[in-house]
Symmetry: C2
Subunit: 332 residues, 2 copies
């Protein structure tokens, strides 16, 4: 199995991407194609163990932060994002991990992989590990900012497939993000979506509130991409505030003072807070295209990049894209 990875993407490219890839081929039964500047990548890989499992696919261009995605994708056909997406379109790669340039990845995927038949829109499904027995899936975390009710129903169907296939949740509990739990609550979009979700064969458990996002009340939480973007970034911003506070503690000195149970719990606490941080945890799946695309956070370091690669590997191994192609979607 071959996973393509955009080695030019993200704030710490290419060094941390290469590190993450080296770690990934050590632990998972995959080969990796690093897409980017050939000379630089060769240098970085010179002393790597298991080099034979990593190949380099040259790409001479890079989509920069702040570039308008559609123009960037059209003007830079040899950018790492476009080359990576095309490796999957051609059947060369079984998955593509893009780091950072969400807009360009969505556009390149939409243009070159096409949307799955029967679907109205694409969505990003963010996978949150909130210290629950199983992760929580937030969809749409930021692609489709203007939604109709049917889009949200289809998002629920997409995330349902992901949760079943990749995470083995047999009947994922689907919650609708709302401003209250009662059926009568919500703006027009959400109230209409509620009525549609009731009619599906999904395990729809009703409305969930902002409180519930990190508490494992639902496996899949459905929302429009505008709300999802705000939600995910708010959690991330909060995580940064809390992590800065923890760093203020000068953790190592604090560790030295602690012993026994208190130390163990301090370590547990910091690890949970880190897990709440999207950029620490890894990737989100772009669902709805004919291809396996995982988007990592722009500030990912090696560990998060390795997680994103793992997610792409799991999705490929479990045939997520095939399942998505074969599913029947709700219609208006």
């Amino acid at each position: 199995m071959l996973i393509a990875v955009d080695a030019a993407g993200g704030d710490y490219a290419p060094r941390e991407v290469v590190k993450g890839a080296i770690e990934a081929v050590k632990d998972y039964p995959i080969d990796i194609a690093l897409v980017g500047n050939k000379a630089v990548l060769e240098m970085l890989l010179r002393r790597a163990a298991r080099k034979s499992k990593i190949t380099i696919v040259p790409a001479s261009q890079v989509v920069m932060d702040g570039e308008e995605p559609i123009q960037a994708v059209q003007n830079k056909p040899d950018s790492s994002v476009v080359v990576g997406v095309n490796l999957m379109r051609d059947g060369t790669a079984d998955g593509f991990v893009s780091i950072g340039s969400t807009g360009a990845t969505v556009v390149a995927s939409f243009l070159n992989l096409n949307i799955v038949q029967g679907l109205e829109r694409l969505a990003i499904c963010a996978v949150f590990d909130a210290n629950q027995p199983q992760p929580t899936f937030l969809i749409d975390a930021g692609v489709s900012v203007n939604c109709r009710p049917i889009f949200l129903v289809q998002f629920a169907q997409l995330a349902n497939i992901l949760a079943q296939r990749v995470f083995g949740i047999s009947s994922p509990r689907i919650g609708l993000l709302n401003n209250g739990t009662e059926e009568s609550k919500g703006n027009t979009l959400v109230r209409e979506t509620y009525q549609l979700l009731k009619k599906t064969d999904l395990n729809f458990i009703g409305n969930v509130e902002g409180y519930d996002v990190l508490k494992g009340k639902a496996d899949v939480i459905v929302m429009d991409g505008f709300t999802g973007n705000i939600l995910v970034k708010t959690i991330e911003g909060y995580s940064e505030v809390v992590q800065n506070l923890l760093e203020l503690q000068e953790a190592s000195k604090l560790d030295q003072q602690l012993t026994g149970t208190a130390l163990a719990r301090y370590v547990q606490m910091t690890s949970v807070i880190k897990k709440l941080d999207y950029k620490e945890y890894g990737g989100a799946c772009l669902l709805g295209v004919n291809g396996n695309v995982v988007i990592g956070h722009g500030r990912s370091r090696a560990r998060a990049i390795k997680s994103a690669i793992y997610l792409a590997y799991l999705a490929a191994r479990q045939g997520v894209v095939e399942a998505i192609k074969n599913a029947r979607y709700a219609t208006e």
Copy 2:
């Protein structure tokens, strides 16, 4: 100055409400009218210091959690919420603090105090103290879930008055919550609002993202009430997760092990995290009615109730409602 307080509202009524009121009259130059069950309140006040500054206004009914607000307000004319609102309508009180029953408070205020002329909708302005030099104002935190652009512009104008009057911020930086910073970002509502905000004389600084909510990038952050409800509840849920983790530490034992700088910083950290918690911090202002109404969190204890009373006192002292009545609002 007289502040009316709903002594029957919230999870810890009436005991914590009475405690909060006793603390408030000790520290602020106000009298308080506690609205609720006369016999119970008399008993709770029996040994209070400065009893003379607290009066009891009997109310025989209570709006319960989960009651449909419009029906509750209509069917319970002697409920503590309705009696409290009417104390302000009659000019008896200078402010009313309601704890918990947000829906009923909004409905009773709308029906009995009326909306200020020129305004399209009411909004809740939540005041967040995110460890910044000055607080951040989120509006609308949950009243108007279906919005048109003009509503959001008016919300910005309302919060601008509050930030200037009560918190002395001379030219509040107004940010529009969006899924990106570029002017072109956003759903239809937000993109149209952006264009309208540019034309006002507000200090509009453009879009802010979820990351920025807790970081003091803007003084006022404007959003529709659906998004605001999700946002505030997500932050609250996250705070609970983090606080549970801190409690897991068995803080006192951890404190005992720590000394010097590490201890000081641990204490600082827990205090900051507590301040991020809406229910710890206190009240939110219901803006747009002809009256000074502060809504406290249903899970408020004495300290948060005291904060909510303080907010109502400040708003009254600074003439917020008069300023809101005298302002000119954007029109379509």
